[in-house]
Amino acid sequence: MTCNKKSLSWVLLFSMLVMSAPAFGYEWEARQGLQGWGSSNVRDVRFTGDGLTFYRQLNGFDMMLWVPQGMVTDASFTRLRLRTLAIDSYVVCTLMSQGRVVASQEAPLYGGRGWKEYVFDFTSLESDTPVDAIAFRFALCDSVEIRDLIADGPSFSEIYARQGFRAYNVNFLHPFKLYGYSLNLWFYALILISGLGVAVWYSVTRKKGAPAILGIVFLICYFAMDIREVLEELSIMKTTYEDHVSAAPEDRRFHWSDNLVEFSAFIQRHIQPGQEEVYFFGEESRYLYMRYLLYPMKLVQKKETLARVNIFSESDNARLMGNTLFMNGKVTLENGMGMLFSPRSFLYLTK
């Protein structure tokens, strides 16, 4: 019976912690509409089932959205959930005070049909300036669908923030946080406090097994962290399934590798690897990845001259119109053959 009461107390404590999840700061969901939100370079806004889709003006400038002055009191921990199919785009979150910039952070946007959470953590920001507004700039992004936003001070809800599958995960993983501090530190504190308690208990009772109690506390903390990690892994699996496994071919994305896998498959359908060199126009990281995906095709990174087969990947200065290749705004070749994969990625074969 005593054991049941103890268990009940633990369940109650756990439930209280979990139920304290909703943030106390500014919370916004798309279904509430744009009450007082500001925007610039937005051509159109449409309600979708789950979010609001913003379309960029055709003038080429970045879209901006902002939560106006007075609605936000603390945005130390800002979480924005959105989805886009844009490639190479990024979002900049800026904290404002009386119209002045206090701090800003940039995050690359990952394309795909699944919702993704972007976390801007300003908890370590050493500034006494009270934040009263947040602005978001979406660079290189024609449209973005936003689902919700939470802006809060350090709180319990930070622990629910999704970290996602990132290119740096193989080297390090950012900590889960709670009230602005790494979850690890909270567990260390808990273990040390338990250690003190056990030491006092041992000094009074002189019973054996004190280290064992501390060991059990440690293992509970370790596996609690592991369970939080399992939730993260579930979220990664869900995103992978939505964006890659079950997505339509034209919408397929694999986390940060954008559409390179699909573009490579497109190239392989049209070009057979041989001894001749294939020129690649695009960023170094894209080149290295496609060099791997397309091997044994002999890819060579170039900036100007053309070979018989040329690959343009998310190129800023090359465009294809029919069979006419424009580079740096000028007609470079007209008598070749162009094969368009997307407006900024294509194959061009010279004669």
Binding site: V170, I191, G215, M225, V230, T240, L293
Partner: protein, 456 residues
């Protein structure tokens, strides 16, 4: 069909390893299985590299001679086995002998471990190779080798190991090319499945060794601790080499431990071979793993009270068994590269105190290693007396030596850059984690545990 071909590609070298190990009564069935796979694939990679040095391409005819000696050894062993019987370890079942509470905890931990494996399988089969070193180096080299049908191939066309990343060892690329050769095509998922196999071997070896030595519950807890380390899971998905080096190091240390316990030279030879496989996997094997293993070996050898002549013979045996790596070191210039990268060549060794806080942050504040390092420190602090027991000491010595070497590399050489940007440091720590976990098992186990193994 592909899965069958993949299994055959892994089973063939594993059978070669099994021909060497199947009569080792000290090893349990699971240990024999994982060691067979490890030794077989390791020796195969050296053989295929040897073919490359002779400029011979992969073919049924060029590969077949590798299997012949193992076939003979296996048949000889079989004929002996028919004539004699040898003791084997008693069978066991996972939940027998546990109380209800223990059964629940054991099942929960097993479920967590299985989840990690499922997550890795999902990620491997649902996406392409993604992480940087995998597509610029490990899998890329493997793909080049596969298409050229030669372990000495390089995409620059400059011949054997002369091109980009020439000083990076070839064990993983060769084995992945071997898998693709069996599949008849390059398939990222199946090639990366090799990384999952190494992870499974790591978990099985960790569990099985600790089960025999310290009991099922300790084994399950520490196996789950190992599998619950996030950075390890991402390294498996990406097919990076650090996990592999950590696993081969663990295998070599366990074999050395069995030699230390029984005095049988066979285990010493296997330990030497496994250390050479670790060196052929990543250069950390040469710079960190081998020195730590060799010093551990010398330390224990010095307490055996043997004659000078016999001692030199044993040292010679260990060195000869790890000599396969000389093939690689001679051709690749890896030693010179290690000296340059470490800064020793240019006398750039100096203490970098600015690295201390980032080091602590990486190990204790980030979630890369979960709470592993805090737990390790706590365990040693609470059970420091047990740390002096022979078995615990056996695994703590290489752990401390490896840690020391890693600290030296990252805090005293220009490699501090890889600590400051939180990259290589976290992966390199994976080399020491498995061996340290075994030491942890002895620190947790009760004082009165006898550590006597049936069949010893």
């Amino acid at each position: 069909m592909k899965i069958a071909l993949f299994m055959i590609s892994m089973l063939l070298p594993a059978l070669c390893g099994y021909a060497l190990l199947w009569r080792q009564a000290l090893l349990s069935r699971l240990e024999r299985l994982v060691f067979s796979f490890t030794l077989g694939t390791g020796l195969l990679s050296f053989y295929l590299f040897g073919l490359a040095l002779l400029n011979i391409s992969f073919s049924a005819w060029s590969v077949a001679p590798f299997f012949v000696p193992f076939l003979i050894i296996g048949l000889l062993g079989l004929s002996k086995a028919i004539k004699t019987t040898r003791p084997s370890l008693p069978p066991w079942s996972p939940l027998s002998g546990l109380s209800l509470n223990q059964k629940i905890i054991f099942s929960f931990l097993a479920a967590l471990t299985v989840w990690k494996i499922l997550f890795i399988v999902f990620m491997i089969f649902s996406g392409p190779t993604t992480f940087w070193d995998a597509y610029t180096l490990w899998n890329y080299k493997a793909k080049v080798i596969y298409y050229a049908n030669n372990a000495g191939a390089d995409h620059t066309g400059e011949g054997i190991i002369q091109g980009e990343y020439r000083h990076y060892p070839l064990h993983l690329p060769i084995i992945r090319a071997w898998i693709a050769t069996f599949l008849g095509e390059w398939d990222d998922a199946f090639v990366n499945l090799h990384s999952l196999l190494l992870f499974l071997c790591l978990l099985v070896l960790n569990f099985e060794f600790l089960r025999k030595e310290t009991g099922k519950m300790t084994a399950m807890i520490l196996t789950c601790v190992l599998s619950g380390m996030p950075i390890l899971v991402y390294n498996v998905i990406s097919g990076y080499a650090d996990l592999a080096v950590g696993y081969y190091y663990l295998s070599a240390v366990i074999m050395l431990f069995y030699w230390h316990r029984t005095g049988r030279s066979g285990f010493l030879i296997y330990s030497g071979i496994l250390s050479s496989i670790a060196m052929f996997t990543k250069n950390e094997g040469v710079a960190i793993v081998f020195p730590a293993l060799f010093f551990t070996f010398l330390f224990h050898l010095s307490f055996r009270g043997q004659s000078w002549k016999k001692t030199m013979g044993v040292v010679g045996l260990f060195l000869i068994s790890s000599m396969a790596i000389l093939l690689w070191l001679r051709e690749s210039g890896a030693l010179s590269s290690i000296m340059t990268i470490s800064g020793i060549k240019d006398s750039l060794v100096t203490f970098h105190p600015e690295g201390l806080m980032p080091f602590v942050n990486n190990l204790l504040v980030f979630r890369s290693h979960n709470l592993f390092w805090f737990g390790a420190a706590l365990l040693v602090a609470l059970n420091w007396r047990k740390a002096f027991r022979p078995e615990a000491r056996f695994f703590l010595i290489p752990s401390v030596l490896t840690l020391g070497a890693i600290l030296f590399v990252f805090l005293f050489t220009p490699n501090i850059a890889w600590l400051m940007n939180s990259t290589t440091i976290n992966r390199t720590m994976l080399i020491v984690v498995p061996v340290l976990t075994l030491a942890g098992g002895y620190l947790i186990a009760p004082e009165d545990k006898s550590f006597i193994v049936a069949g010893d």
